[in-house]
Amino acid sequence: MAEQQQLTAGANRGGRRITIDPITRLEGHGKIEVFLDESGEVERAYFQIPELRGFEKFVQGRPVEEMPQITSRICGVCPTAHHMAATKAIDNVYKLEPPLAAKIIRELIYSTFVVEDHALHFYFLGGPDFVVGPDAPPAERNVLGVIAKVGLETGKKVIAMRSRLRDLMALVGGKAAHPVFGLPGGVAKRFTPEMRKKFQEVAAEAVEFAQFTLRIFEDVVLKNDDYVNLILSDAYTHRTYYMGMVDAHNRLNFYDGMLRVVAPDGREFEKFAPSRYLENIAEHVEPWTYVKFCYLKTVGWKGFKEGMESGVYSVAPLARLNVSDGMATPFAQHAYEQFFSTVGPKPVHHTLANHWARVVELLYAAERMRELADEPALTDEDVRVLPSEKPKEGVGVVEAPRGTLIHHYQTDEDGLVAKANLIVATQNNAARIAMSVEKAAKALIHGDDVPESVLNRVEMAFRAYDPCNGCATHALPGSMPLVIRVQKQDGSTAAVLRRDFYGNVLRE
């Protein structure tokens, strides 16, 4: 980059710099840098992700059947999503079709996980901004503040619900945090009638709990004009493409289906099988963050811009409701209709509406749990098929709570991973998140003296997406480049030396 040749330590054009470090109430690490010009207006704001671990590289050489448990360590908040995408990918690596019972078990545990994870975000992560209030003191703006606001009894009810959901996940997967059920061609354990009964009981509670959560949202957010105006405000609005997984009737499905993309004007732009993701999705690199930014390949990378001409798109609850023609279960369908009649028409571009869409999805996942727990084939003995083909290559895609998740492995003949490509949920949102943070900063920050509550409202711009930055930066970047500028006594440059990542020193 041309500008890097004028690197000057620390100095910035114009006036002040405000740093929010670390960002909070999300999974993962991040900081926001806001640069003000001389008049105190925001010139630029950057949402930087400073973390990475390198999964795509260090899984090379690992047996592919270990991928569900290794890749689940990308994220301890959504391990089941990685575990499931990996399990589906290894089905395809061995060209296996799991028995019906295995597929039902997988979708059942997956629906259970979505209920739990979406509830976690609403009550622990994003919800405090609304329930306690965006301007509340930092010490109260958290789950404990939520409990203080809704009352201890309600608080305990939320905690208890989550606990029962986690117990169910452990029943199937050994443990909820980093479950172990996934194998090529099936799952590790069959379902007993006792397990079915437990799932049926908790699923019924989960549906009630989801409706209860929707009512809290209605009472606390929708009946508060200030919040509604915040949701509809331009500061938190971007007109981008949207992507999500749908079934044969174009209704959201978290576990399986086709990927559907809808344009900013609402028309279907593309619909493709997950195995063809490479024809549609590409990743862009920027020097100021470790996350890679996804964009629509056929539209192209035009920078951090919205609109029909820019390949920037969004995933996760708002996007999924936008790309679906409806919801596959009755209560959720009703909630979906209410959603669009209030903040619509489709597609809805208001980022903060993600919080509402998330609760609609929570309701769908709970109803789906109930349906699957009643499936006769759930307790069939056959939950595995053994491979007969040599392993080669496979793609596995699910809708993680935070967006479309793609695992793609190539193996050698012995089934050891030769290459892995992971496109992880929040990466699909990374460009739009960066845009949302900058737009909110520009709209809300004026002048040097910025109250802490305003900084929180800038953070709310990313929190709506429920980002998972550990997920987004599973990847690993590089070494420390070094630039030495040799200055003469008169201040002019005598030489510029640059060390690249191979250790070569170049003189410019």
Partner: protein, 328 residues
């Protein structure tokens, strides 16, 4: 002014699972928050780094730190929290042993960078742009942490008072450890707060483990149907139970899958991978080389199996890289 002890939680190269373990305390978390003042916990609370920097030295009673040390920011935060805390507790496999991210020590930084930003299938990067520690955008300087050449466990960079093992520790393990630390009788510094025996001792299938167990070869789990009652090692699956510390109540085995070693070794073992190697060699019946080689060949990934969580802190630490010596 609260007299309650101050407690902090932080995460380095982490997945967040150890944070979930705390949330999984369920109602007990209300007892915890009643007993202590949580002054820093980025996943759940809005306190910032500058709030920690402003705290007096050793004013935090206990900091629970999870995640391995992979970047300069994590190293800085580790040192910062060490200075501000009386006790520093390493939570989880990554902090204790380097964890699964420690498998990156099989590769050098340059080849990893190349894979992710230049070679990865979906990446469109004709300018060969890489993330930079310092970059210039529109006249502004932006910074990212340095990505170190290797992963380190917490006690390889700072003094650690106690360890809570597991990936993640179960809520029960965390709660028991927390109560121990808050109690009057703390164990000796450096103690791993979990039972000090092998997993086989608390495994629900231990009665089915033959006393005279012998192995001719291992089978990969997709190649066989797994009996959900019998000892997994006896069935020919590569179970790390014999070389792994107990405490988790063998949850993976209850899921009908092998133990992969996340709680690390017992206190009598310096290197978990070496321990499982010696445990398995005792089980190999044959003394004939072709049969021994056949048994070895049935283990496709020794490092990933024996050192999945502990490579960074093992005697091996990392792969030796060809070419010029690469330090930090």
């Amino acid at each position: 002014m609260s007299q309650k002890p101050k407690v902090a939680f932080y995460w380095c190269a982490s997945c967040g699972g150890c944070e979930e373990a705390v949330v999984d305390l369920d109602e007990a978390i209300l007892e915890v928050t009643a007993a202590v003042d949580v002054v820093f916990w980025p996943v759940a609370l809005d306190f910032k780094r500058k709030d920690v920097e402003a705290m007096p030295e050793r004013s935090i009673a206990i900091t629970f730190l999870n995640g391995a040390v992979r970047t300069s920011e994590q190293l800085e935060m580790t040192h910062l929290l060490r200075r501000k805390s009386q006790l520093l507790v390493a939570v989880g496999s990554c902090a204790q042993l380097g964890g699964i991210p420690g498998l990156a020590n099989m590769f050098d930084r340059e080849s990893i960078l190349e894979e992710v930003y230049l070679l990865s299938t979906a990446t469109a990067n004709p300018e060969r742009q890489l993330p930079e520690v310092r970059s210039r955008e529109n006249g502004h300087t932006l910074e990212l942490p340095v990505f170190f050449q290797r992963v380190r466990a917490l006690n390889q960079v700072v003094e650690v008072d106690y360890f809570i093992p597991g990936c993640p520790p179960t809520p029960k393990m965390f709660r028991t450890a927390f109560e121990t630390l808050m109690g009057k009788q703390r164990p000796k510094k450096g103690t791993v707060l979990a039972p000090d025996c092998a997993l086989c001792d608390e495994c629900p299938r231990k009665d089915t483990k033959p006393a005279d167990l012998t192995i001719t070869r291992f089978t990969r789990p997709q190649q066989m149907l797994v009996d959900d009652q019998k000892c997994l090692l006896a069935q020919g699956l590569l179970c790390m139970g014999p070389a792994t510390r107990a405490g988790c109540e063998a949850l993976c085995v209850r899921g009908n899958m092998v133990c992969t070693g996340c709680c690390g070794p017992t206190s009598r073992v310096r290197d978990q991978g070496a321990k499982i190697l010696s445990a398995l060699s005792i089980l190999v019946q044959s003394k004939e080389e072709p049969e021994i080689r056949s048994m070895q060949a049935s283990i496709p990934d020794p490092v990933g199996s024996f050192y999945r969580y502990s490579l960074a802190s093992s005697l091996l630490r990392r792969k030796r890289f060809a070419g010029a010596a690469k330090t930090r």
